[in-house]
C-alpha cells in the first residue's frame, strides 16, 4: 500500500498504488481547474441566472420574441392550459399571480393565465453582455494599459540593471565586491511590507507618488535576479572575454555582445519571474497610486469589487479578463516556466 511513496520505475501492470495515484491526480485536476472553470462559465450568465439557487452549470437565458405592436422584445414562455395543451406564448405584462400572454402568431389576442401555468423557454447562450458592460464601467482599457506599462518597463529595467550588476559581480575583481554581493543576498529576505513606510516617504520626496514610475523603479533591484544571473554568468568562460579584449572590444561591448547573448536562458527565466511579479503586484501599487486613472488591473479590480458589492456579473467578467493574459502566456510557455522555476527555486 505504501508503495506509492517511493519511486517505481519500469512497472507494466496497473497496481492498486497506480490507481490511487491517478485518482489523486484526477481529483487534483478537478480542484485546481474546477474553480476557474466555474468562474469562466458564470461570467457568461445574466443577472437573473446568477441569482438562481441552486445554480445551473451552463449559462441559460430566457428566449425573447419580437411581437408586432410591442416595442420591446417579449419574454417567451411555454403555457400549459387546463385541457393539457401547450403553446409557446410571449408575456406582455404580469399582474400579481396573473400573466397576460400573447401568441406571437396572433398579436391581437391577449390571454390571461396563472403564472404557475407558464414555464420560461430557455436556451444555453454564452452572452458577452457582461464583458461589454464591464469594460465600459470598469475602465478596463486604461487599467490594462497601466498594467502593461508597469510590467514591460519594470521587466526591462530589472533585466538591464540586474544583468549589469551580475556581470560586474561575476567577471571582475574589485574592492567591495563581496560586500555588495553579501548585502544583495542578505536582503533577499527583506520584503517590501517590512519597509513600507520609509519607501513611501522616499517616493513622496522624489515626487513619484501617484506616478507609474513610483511603482516601476523601487522593485527593480531584485536580489533574486542578481543572484540568478551571477550564478549563470560564472559558467561563461573567462577566455571568451579575454580574446574579445585582445580584439579591442570595450568592456561595455563585451557585456552587450558576449555576456548578454550567452546569458539568454537565465535572462528568460528572470523575465518570466519579473512579468509574474509585476503583473500580479498588489500592495505596492495600492499604496503609491490613489488616482483611479493610474490604477493597475489588480488594484482596479479590487476597488471595483468594493464599489459594486453585489454586481457579480460584472465582477466575474472582469476577473476573467484580468486572468486571461497571464493564462495565454502560460499556455505557450508552460514547459519553460515550470522548468525555470524548478531550477531556481525562487519567487
Amino acid at each position: 500500500m505504501l508503495n506509492f511513496l517511493t519511486n517505481t520505475r519500469g512497472k507494466t501492470r496497473l497496481t492498486l498504488a497506480d490507481m490511487a495515484t491517478y485518482l489523486y491526480l484526477l481529483l487534483g485536476t478537478l480542484l485546481m481547474f474546477g474553480p476557474i472553470i466555474w468562474l469562466v462559465v458564470s461570467s457568461f450568465k445574466d443577472r437573473n441566472e446568477l441569482l438562481r439557487f441552486p445554480p445551473r452549470f451552463l449559462p441559460y437565458q430566457q428566449e425573447t420574441v419580437v411581437v408586432p405592436g410591442y416595442d420591446e422584445p417579449l419574454q417567451l414562455f411555454t403555457v400549459t392550459f387546463e385541457d393539457g395543451t401547450t403553446r409557446q406564448m410571449a408575456q406582455v405584462r404580469r399582474v400579481g399571480i396573473e400573466a397576460q400572454m400573447v401568441d406571437p402568431a396572433q398579436p391581437d389576442e391577449i390571454v390571461k393565465v396563472n403564472i404557475n401555468q407558464r414555464q420560461p423557454v430557455e436556451s444555453v447562450r454564452f452572452s458577452l453582455d457582461n464583458y461589454a458592460t464591464g469594460v465600459t464601467r470598469f475602465n478596463f482599457w486604461q487599467y490594462l494599459a497601466n498594467s502593461i506599462i508597469v510590467t514591460v518597463a519594470a521587466t526591462a529595467l530589472t533585466l538591464l540593471v540586474n544583468s549589469m550588476a551580475a556581470f560586474a559581480l561575476s567577471k571582475y575583481e574589485f574592492r567591495g565586491r563581496e560586500t555588495i554581493f553579501g548585502l544583495t543576498i542578505g536582503t533577499l529576505m527583506v520584503p517590501i511590507s517590512v519597509i513600507l513606510i520609509p519607501v513611501y516617504l522616499v517616493i513622496t520626496e522624489i515626487g513619484w507618488n501617484n506616478n507609474l514610475i513610483g511603482v516601476i523603479v523601487p522593485g527593480a533591484a531584485t536580489p533574486t535576479g542578481v543572484f540568478l544571473l551571477r550564478q549563470y554568468m560564472l559558467t561563461i568562460p573567462d577566455e571568451l572575454l579575454d580574446s574579445a579584449r585582445i580584439d579591442g572590444a570595450s568592456e561595455w561591448r563585451i557585456y552587450l555582445q558576449i555576456i548578454l547573448p550567452l546569458a539568454r536562458p537565465a535572462l528568460a527565466v528572470l523575465a518570466i519571474f519579473s512579468v509574474m511579479w509585476r503583473w500580479n503586484d498588489f500592495l505596492w501599487p495600492l499604496i503609491v497610486l490613489s488616482r483611479t486613472e493610474l490604477f493597475t488591473l489588480q488594484v482596479g479590480l479590487n476597488s471595483f469589487q468594493g464599489d459594486l458589492q453585489t454586481q457579480w456579473e460584472l465582477i466575474l467578467a472582469m476577473t476573467v479578463l484580468t486572468l486571461l493574459p497571464i493564462t495565454v502566456v502560460f499556455a505557450f510557455l508552460q514547459r519553460f516556466i515550470t522548468t525555470g522555476i524548478a531550477t531556481t527555486g525562487m519567487k
Binding site: 517511493t6 498504488a17 491526480l25 485536476t29 468562474l39 549589469m164 550588476a165 571582475y172 522548468t339 524548478a342
Partner: protein
C-alpha cells in the same frame, strides 16, 4: 546546489536554442551597441577596466540603496518618532513610546487587555495562520510531488495543472473563491443537494479563517510542489535499485533514502513558505478584507491599516510594528539556516 543549477541551465539552453534574435533584429542590436560604445569606450579609457566594474554595478546599487537599504535604516527613525507627519524633520522624537504602546498589555494572552488590541489580534491571527498554513502547504506539496515523481503518464501536463494557480494574481484568486463560497454559491448548493444546510463560509470567523488557509494553499502549492519534485528527481535512481536488491521495502527505502536526501529541498521550501506566510496580505485583503470583524487581520494588514488606511496615519506605530515583524522574520530565517547547517546538508 550549484552543479544542479548548472545542469538545468544547460537543459534550458538547448530548449532555447532556436535563435529568437532574427538577422534583421540582430543588425539593429549591433548598431545600437556601436552607438552606445561611442560613449562607453572613452569612459572606459577614463576610469580603466576596473572602474568599469563599478559603473556596471552602479544602477542596481543605486536603486537598491535608495529603495531598500536606506529605507531599512529609516524605518528605525520612524519607529522612534511620533506624530502623523510623513517628513522626518516634522516628526518629534518619542523614544520607545511606539514600541511601548505595542507591548502594553495586562495579559498578553488576551488581546482585549492590550492598549493596541488590534496589533495583538493581528499577531495571534498571524501566528495561527502561519503555523497551520505552512504545515498544510508543505504536506500537500510533498504528497503531490511524491505522486508526480512516480512513473506516470502525462507528468508534464499534471505538473502544469498544479502549477497554474500560482500564476493567478491574489485578487483574482480571492474573487474566484468568494464567488464559490458566498451564501448562495455553488459549494453551498452542493451541500444542500446532498441534504445538508447552507454553511456561513464568509460570515463566521472560524470558517473565514479556515478558507483563508485553504485558498492560500490552493494558490501556492504548485510552486512548492515543483521545487520538491526537482529535489526528488535529483535523487539517483540507483539508490533505490540498490536498496531493493538489499531487500529493503518501500517504506524503508522512503525513510532511508527519500527523506534524508530531500531534506535540503524541504528546508528551502520551509524557509520560503514561512516567510511568505508571515507576510500574508493581498489575497486575504481582497478575500475577506480582514474580517469578519478582525478574524483574518494579519500583521501586514495591521501595518497597512495603521499607516495608510486610517485617518490618523500613525507612521511611527506602523514602523514599530514593521520592526517587530522584521525581527521575527530574521529569527525564523536564522533558526532555519542554523537547522540546515547542523544537519550539514543545506
Amino acid at each position: 546546489m550549484i552543479s544542479f543549477l548548472e545542469y538545468n541551465m544547460i537543459k534550458l539552453n538547448t530548449f532555447f536554442s532556436a535563435d529568437f534574435l532574427a538577422a534583421p533584429l540582430r543588425m539593429v542590436y549591433d548598431a545600437l551597441v556601436s552607438v552606445m560604445d561611442f560613449i562607453m569606450h572613452p569612459l572606459q579609457n577614463l576610469v580603466g577596466v576596473r572602474g568599469m566594474a563599478y559603473i556596471f554595478v552602479l544602477p542596481n546599487l543605486l536603486i537598491f540603496g535608495i529603495f531598500i537599504l536606506f529605507p531599512m535604516l529609516l524605518n528605525f527613525y520612524y519607529a522612534f518618532t511620533g506624530g502623523s507627519r510623513l517628513f522626518p524633520q516634522d516628526r518629534p522624537f518619542v523614544g520607545l513610546d511606539n514600541l511601548n504602546r505595542l507591548f502594553t498589555c495586562q495579559d498578553f494572552l488576551s488581546p482585549n487587555t492590550c492598549r493596541e488590541d488590534l496589533f495583538w489580534r493581528a499577531a495571534t491571527n498571524t501566528v495561527t495562520f502561519v503555523f497551520l498554513q505552512v504545515a498544510l502547504l508543505v504536506l500537500v506539496s510533498l504528497v503531490t510531488a511524491l505522486i508526480l515523481n512516480r512513473n506516470i503518464q502525462a507528468r508534464g501536463f499534471f505538473r502544469s495543472v498544479f502549477f497554474y494557480p500560482v500564476l493567478l494574481s491574489p485578487v483574482v484568486v480571492a474573487l474566484i473563491w468568494k464567488w464559490i463560497l458566498q451564501q448562495d454559491g455553488v459549494l453551498n448548493a452542493i451541500i444542500v443537494s446532498l441534504g445538508g444546510e447552507k454553511l456561513p463560509f464568509l460570515i463566521s470567523a472560524d470558517w473565514a479563517r479556515f478558507w483563508v488557509i485553504v485558498i492560500s494553499v490552493w494558490a501556492q502549492m504548485g510552486f512548492y510542489t515543483l521545487i520538491l519534485l526537482a529535489g526528488l528527481q535529483s535523487i539517483p535512481g540507483e539508490l533505490y535499485e540498490a536498496a531493493s536488491m538489499d531487500g529493503a521495502g518501500a517504506v524503508q527505502a522512503f525513510r532511508a533514502i527519500t527523506i534524508p536526501l530531500l531534506m535540503p529541498t524541504m528546508l528551502v521550501v520551509l524557509v520560503l513558505s514561512l516567510i511568505r506566510a508571515v507576510q500574508a496580505f493581498d489575497q486575504v485583503f481582497a478575500f475577506t478584507g480582514g474580517g469578519p470583524g478582525t478574524a483574518t487581520t494579519y500583521m501586514v494588514q495591521y501595518i497597512f491599516t495603521v499607516g495608510f488606511a486610517s485617518p490618523a496615519r500613525e507612521f511611527g506605530l506602523a514602523a514599530a510594528a514593521s520592526l517587530v515583524m522584521a525581527a521575527v522574520l530574521l529569527l525564523l530565517t536564522a533558526g532555519q539556516l542554523r537547522l540546515g547547517r547542523t544537519s550539514n546538508l543545506a
